[in-house]
Symmetry: C2
């Protein structure tokens, strides 16, 4: 009989070689200020909570609508597109997984900028594909022609980007789409906090695919819901790849209610943008360099050593994200919390050695 | 500029060729008797509904525990294994997807019996793998040696099986595991209704992986939760492949509460087994052949033409599943509903021409 360790030899070699994606720390329980994974500091809309409680019925014994039609109709109306241009996913990570499985095969190239969302690289590795990495310059601008390597099958662009919080203007995204002979995934997980978005590009650029999340703007990270807006022909293919019942009845009901409460989104967004501005100013006054963020976090480099600051904050139960990308200065990515949380953070930062 | 139809050429060829998996019909709204996708006719445990309502808090703004530790501890205790032998998924279909992506690469063989769960073939195709299909004989028995084709990387065994409802005894499953040089996935989606299960096999057979669902025994198809029990070394590899946050906070809370209410499971199971027996007897009396089901459905062949019966039932808003597998007689797979639903079904069947 074989030993348990031997079971690892059954695993596909490219997966056995992988380290696995490590998500930001999710401390459970206890008292802390959590500014490390860009959750929204405000609660979900009361209409969402009401929709959820109402959806907890005996009907949970039945499978959900596999296509999430009621949700898709609401999302389509919000964006002025047709429901067959919407695909719902179990979080926008599920949507990104579906996209990668549809377009990137073993040995294929897929491109993304760096520093950016680390998951893209993991998703490509899971397909045994190869990453074509395009560096941001020091001002967080991109050389669009650098994405045009032969054989690139998919391009991901987090816009606004993480960790920088910066955004590429829609006209420049359009120029990138026109240069590509493959789909361009514009990952708008942070789009609810930005000045502009790229959904209007779909009309003239059928290779543009825009993904959205409920984890940031809508305060529903715990629920796992995301969606994409794309050409209907692409959505039809993606539907073959997604699990039939990838979205549950509760998250679909919550997502619909969240989209229907745009007033609440506007209210919490406006508070977050005001706090973001105050946080960025204070960090700049402390000698740090802070980008012009269009997301619900700020990116601070320079000034007091980020590594030491990160550890000191953690000792005081304040979690931020220390990020180090080769060739770029290390920095702290700090989620925009409530005013009280940010006051406390700034107070601690002032007192650090 | 390209036309939308042209976007299809971006899709990987093996996916563009696929038809896509078609789940059983999920009529939304209206009045009907739904006996086509093996949902549980009884509501979820009241403790589950209470746990769900209590979990609808402002805490939904936070990401869930990516590993679902509290849920895994409960599942591990129930099965007498360690928590690192449990992996939770967004439905047992997500678990099957993760398994397929971990073990089956392009061109690789994966084996499963026929007639059985149609999804296995779809999952293999999504990986651009090749299916090695092993036929059941007329008595729903398997030639275990037939699974041993060279190069088989994964074997799926729905046990109890669908559509037959029959089960292979654990000793025979062990004999199959011993013949294989790859993982054997024992899909126990219907295990809560069976006389025996295969979890005890893991102790001496580290290549056995048992998957479980909350959609059948626990009446939570709408929630999407499943899990697997496997060697800890295998689980560590599968964790690389799953989406970090594949299970949401509500389903993890509900799943834990469901597992903790084994008395309710026993009560509804017992009612379903009694109704199943009555349904099978009545169908046999009508001249049909009905297998010895260990699931929450029965499989009826012979007697009045299944195709015509299916259509007549549908006209009367009773949905059952008509299944045709090449080389086998067509049949009706009928979920075990409430006594009232089955009374109505039998009444309609008696009156059919």
């Amino acid at each position: 009989m074989e030993s348990p360790a031997e079971t690892r030899r059954y695993v596909l070699p490219h997966i056995a070689r992988m380290e696995g994606y490590v998500p930001g720390e999710q401390p459970q329980g206890g008292t802390f200020i959590k500014l490390n994974t860009n959750e929204n500091p405000y609660p979900p809309s009361s209409r969402v909570k009401q929709a959820l409680v109402e959806a907890v019925t005996d009907g949970l014994r039945l499978y959900p609508d596999p296509s999430g039609l009621a949700f898709r109709k609401t999302a389509a109306a919000l964006h002025g597109v047709e429901p067959d241009m919407i695909l719902a996913g179990n979080g926008s990570d599920d949507v990104l997984t579906i996209l990668t499985r549809t377009f990137v095969g073993p040995g294929d190239l897929a491109a993304f900028p760096t520093p950016s969302y680390l998951l893209y690289s993991t998703l490509i590795s899971l397909q045994d594909g190869r990453a074509h990495v395009v560096p941001f310059d020091a001002d967080w601008r991109l050389d669009l022609d650098a994405f045009r390597a032969p054989g690139v099958r998919l391009v991901y662009l987090a816009n606004p980007n993480s960790p920088s919080g910066t955004a590429i203007a829609p006209a420049e995204v359009a120029a990138l789409a026109e240069r590509l002979d493959c789909p361009l995934v514009v990952d708008e997980a942070y789009g609810d906090f930005a000045r502009e978005n790229c959904i209007a590009l779909l009309k003239d650029h059928p290779n543009v695919i825009v993904t959205r999340s409920f984890s940031k703007g809508y305060s529903l990270a715990g629920l796992r819901l995301g969606y994409l807006v794309a050409d209907a022909g692409i959505v039809a293919e993606l539907n073959k790849v997604k699990d039939s019942y990838n979205c549950d009845a509760l998250s679909l009901a919550a997502g619909k209610a969240a989209l229907e409460d745009q007033a609440y989104l506007a209210e919490t967004r406006s508070k977050i943008l005001a706090t973001r501005s105050r946080l960025a100013d204070a960090l700049r006054q402390s000698g740090r360099t802070v980008t012009d963020s269009q997301a619900n976090f700020v990116w601070a480099t320079g000034g007091p050593a980020p590594e030491a600051t990160f550890q000191e904050l953690k000792r005081r139960s304040i979690f931020v994200r220390l990020m180090r990308y080769p060739g770029y200065p290390a920095g702290l990515r700090i989620s925009v919390g409530t005013d009280a949380e940010i006051d406390r953070l700034l107070e601690v930062l002032r007192d650090l050695p």
